[in-house]
Symmetry: D2
Subunit: 305 residues, 4 copies
């Protein structure tokens, strides 16, 4: 079960589609196996990067079941929804299927501290005993959660056991949260997103790992392995080798298309298809990625990877 000690690499899984937009269950299987092989300690599915909003309720359930039945590592399911009925329905399906917990992002439109706190009180009520991840992603949701608000939610809601951290800038927030737990507040797990763009600094500030969906998911594993072994310089060398690609993926609204292209190039999924209204990549963009990937391979081989 998801709890405050959960850590490591939770890879955000894409949702593979066939060229006609139908779910590609064969690619789901292959992708899960690849993520685990590349070092995932867990998977997070049906997040924003999983195109969750584009699935019907029935499709979401079918994806959850396929993944949990195949996957040998724990699974967290994104259940953000406009209302608590839909959220609760999917959460119950997910837990019944064997998920370790769920993830909730606040809906667009929340503004004041009190509104945000109230929303997560209601969320915790609606989810009952199900442990959940608070997803803090202002660039996508428009909701800005200060450290003091996050701490209040942690204080009030025992089932909030993890922060998916992708505020930007967000390094000081990690430090604030860790200072607070050092001073006695409940210490929850912090896994970091944002495509890994600040992963090394985040770990140094006190994060417990990564939860993101970079197109070369072994990056998180390799960086964390060096970091946890205490070889920070090597962790930086590896991190820097991936940096040009991390940066390229960071283009808002294009990241998922870039990742799916990279995954398809590596044979992890069969097609780079995004569901409408998702944007595809131009030939120029694909060529830019190819150059970056070739240089990345070269630098990694210099590092013995």
């Amino acid at each position: 079960m998801l709890d405050e000690t959960t850590n490591g690499v939770f890879t955000i899984a894409a949702t593979p589609f066939l060229p006609d937009g139908a779910l590609d269950f064969d690619s789901i299987d292959r992708m899960i196996d690849a993520y685990v092989e590349k070092g995932a300690n867990g998977l997070t599915i049906l997040g924003m990067m999983g195109e969750a909003g584009k699935l019907s309720a029935a499709e979401s359930v079918s994806v959850v079941r396929r993944v949990t039945s195949r996957c040998t590592v724990p699974v967290i399911v994104g259940v953000s929804a406009a209302g608590f009925s839909a959220m609760t329905a999917l959460s119950n399906e997910a837990m019944d299927a064997g998920a370790m917990g769920v993830m909730v992002a606040p809906p667009m439109g929340l503004r004041t501290d009190a509104q945000i706190i109230s929303y997560f009180h209601n969320t915790a009520d609606a989810l009952g005993s199900i442990p959940f991840v608070l997803q803090d992603f202002p660039l996508a949701t428009g909701v800005q959660i200060s450290a003091s608000v996050a701490l209040k939610i942690v204080e009030d809601c025992p089932t909030c056991v993890m922060l998916k951290h992708e505020d930007w800038p967000g390094l000081e927030k990690i430090t604030e949260l860790r200072k607070a737990s050092d001073a006695g507040s409940r210490r929850i797990s912090i896994l970091c997103g944002n495509g890994g763009m600040y992963l090394l600094e985040e770990m140094l500030r006190g994060a417990d790992g990564a939860m993101t969906g970079f197109g070369y998911p072994e990056m998180m594993r390799q960086v964390l392995t060096a970091f946890l072994a205490g070889d920070i310089e090597r962790a930086r060398d590896i991190f820097d080798a991936y940096m040009p690609m991390i940066r390229y993926e960071a283009q808002p609204g294009m990241g998922l298309a870039i990742r799916k292209y990279s995954l398809a190039q590596q044979g992890v999924i069969a097609h780079p298809t995004l569901r409408k209204p998702g944007a595809g990549l131009s030939a120029l963009a694909r060529a830019e990625i190819d150059v970056l990937a070739a240089r990345q391979r070269q630098r990694l081989s210099e590092l013995g990877l």
Copy 2:
């Protein structure tokens, strides 16, 4: 079937709940009957005011079926969704259940003209032959659709047959659209929302009726009847009698709670309950509404209503 000639009063229906948050089907029945009795030419269900986002997919279908099986006037179903799979699934259920058409608001986040046009191209593709209402409600969606963009959508998408007009300010937009159709573009139906706050001016500018959810839905019928009979002064007198209440309902985020309170006070629904995270009304607010309602009755009785 919904088409460009559809007109009159389409009442936006609330979704009644029991005090514990469950759907209140008995109140749905009573409410439908009341709306029709108060002069609705049609109903629109599962709009924003119908708390559509708070229903699970299964609940949405059950509401659609209950309403269409009972209702003696045509029904339009709001099917706005984060993705086309959910939109299509609900649209097909609605049409199968006997709806006359569906209504689609653009998702938050669309910004440029090209993005908006592209979204409705995709919508029309996804809906196939189902006729749809374009809901233009920038205060809620953040999406600003200029008249030229609306006209482009009308030009490109033959199944877009009605505009739910609630841009604010929006009077000049009606005039622009009517000038364009006078000059040869396809003339679609324009029904106006915004709680009726500009209903009289909107009719004078060329609207075909109202589609909104005021707590005293007979207002739209009474104003339109006088207006269509050519008695503009009487239409204004009636309109002005309701104006203090229309204005009170116009408080953003509170309108639905006010309407449900008014409907419950009139016995149209059993409970004023909003689903979480909906806000209830304070005792002071309820008292304010009571005063406005009493003065409204007085002024209407002076008008013989």
Copy 3:
């Protein structure tokens, strides 16, 4: 000097321009006289409705001096600016010219409670001993100030002596603030804006008056006079007589053009000109206003006004 006891009608003054966009100082004089004659207890200049952002720094100073040298009632000067240097420079000019205080709206972009509080700490520091009005106008600024944040600013900043209240909905906020001052927090003045749309309810909730810029500024005086005399029914009758016009002015982005048109029709200013990029009114809109004005005169005459 502006303080916590300041109350009554503070009319938000327009800034009159000649048809070529130059400042119209003759109209400034006439307008000031008219506002006072129509019952203003004070004026507020260079607010958003005063097109303050469209004036150069030198023009702002010239307007301040012209108004303060002529005006027989106290003057508050809007000094909101992107930075504290510009704010301080204008504030000092205003106080030197005899203003009673200044008004500050938060800049767009503030989001969390902590950011808002910090901004007003800095504001109070920058203004030194100058008393200021906190302008709370989320529809224009995008900044949502909860009651608890307002109370914190009041607690921390002794020079914050008045709230210009135009949150929407905002009635509960007045009640919350008054409950807090009843319980011992410093009671500041609350004057209400939003074109007067909820003036009567606001007074009943505990406001101290109006600060807004309706095109018939005698409305605020007449409503307050009846209200303060305890004749609430007459206050409502007067309020309702103006309601259709209040509502028409409430169209966002058009309010100032409507007010300037009304003021010019009444001979208060010479020209309805807005500076670019301000929008003018169409012939249809002017005709709509004329009809509303005629009916308004009729209803007021029935009330002996």
Copy 4:
């Protein structure tokens, strides 16, 4: 004079302050000399990164005069303002002082294509014969300018001669604009911002140079020199060496503090002070920068730089 052929490296200049917040004119002098020595073909002052909004009108003029009197390369002056009076006043001062042109970002709040086009029509009218840079920076302004809108402005406004490109993602926009000019539309200069994060891809897509304010401004010069010499691999090697720092600077709202810290560490300016309400850096952040700077020096030395 600024025109469509202007190209190369235009460094966005910081505005140095003393610890008490006063302008630091000695540092202005030193900084200008350093920028030119590090390879700037021109400077851009009073941009967003120049804390322009925090200067009073008089201070802005004094900065313009100091820079233009000292600087041996052309100067562009940011003149974005809430109104055209302030914009025109500063533009005239700038041109009188010897600036080569001005830069204008659209005000927050513009939404539809028509609103944006109209704003720049008015801008061009207000500026008369002064050539201007259109600053396209949606992350800061919230205004999304599609390629077709940019092209319409270029078509309608002959004095719009340069695009400061910092849309994000923005690579396809460069390609679209270049395709349009290849097809006959007027070709304007495109200089790229965003801290240089996509500089190499931008040059390959057809940009004419960089206009940004990275803390090691020689980066732009070094990358462009290699690029223009046709040695793309060396350009990439240099670019990648700076990438971890570019990424660190990309933290929104912190970039300027990071740059000023880096400039102060290099002795380019005396103090890293930001004017209130600017945020300073924590000790942890400064240490993170120091580590990145040391590794950057090492990698550059391996490249013979």
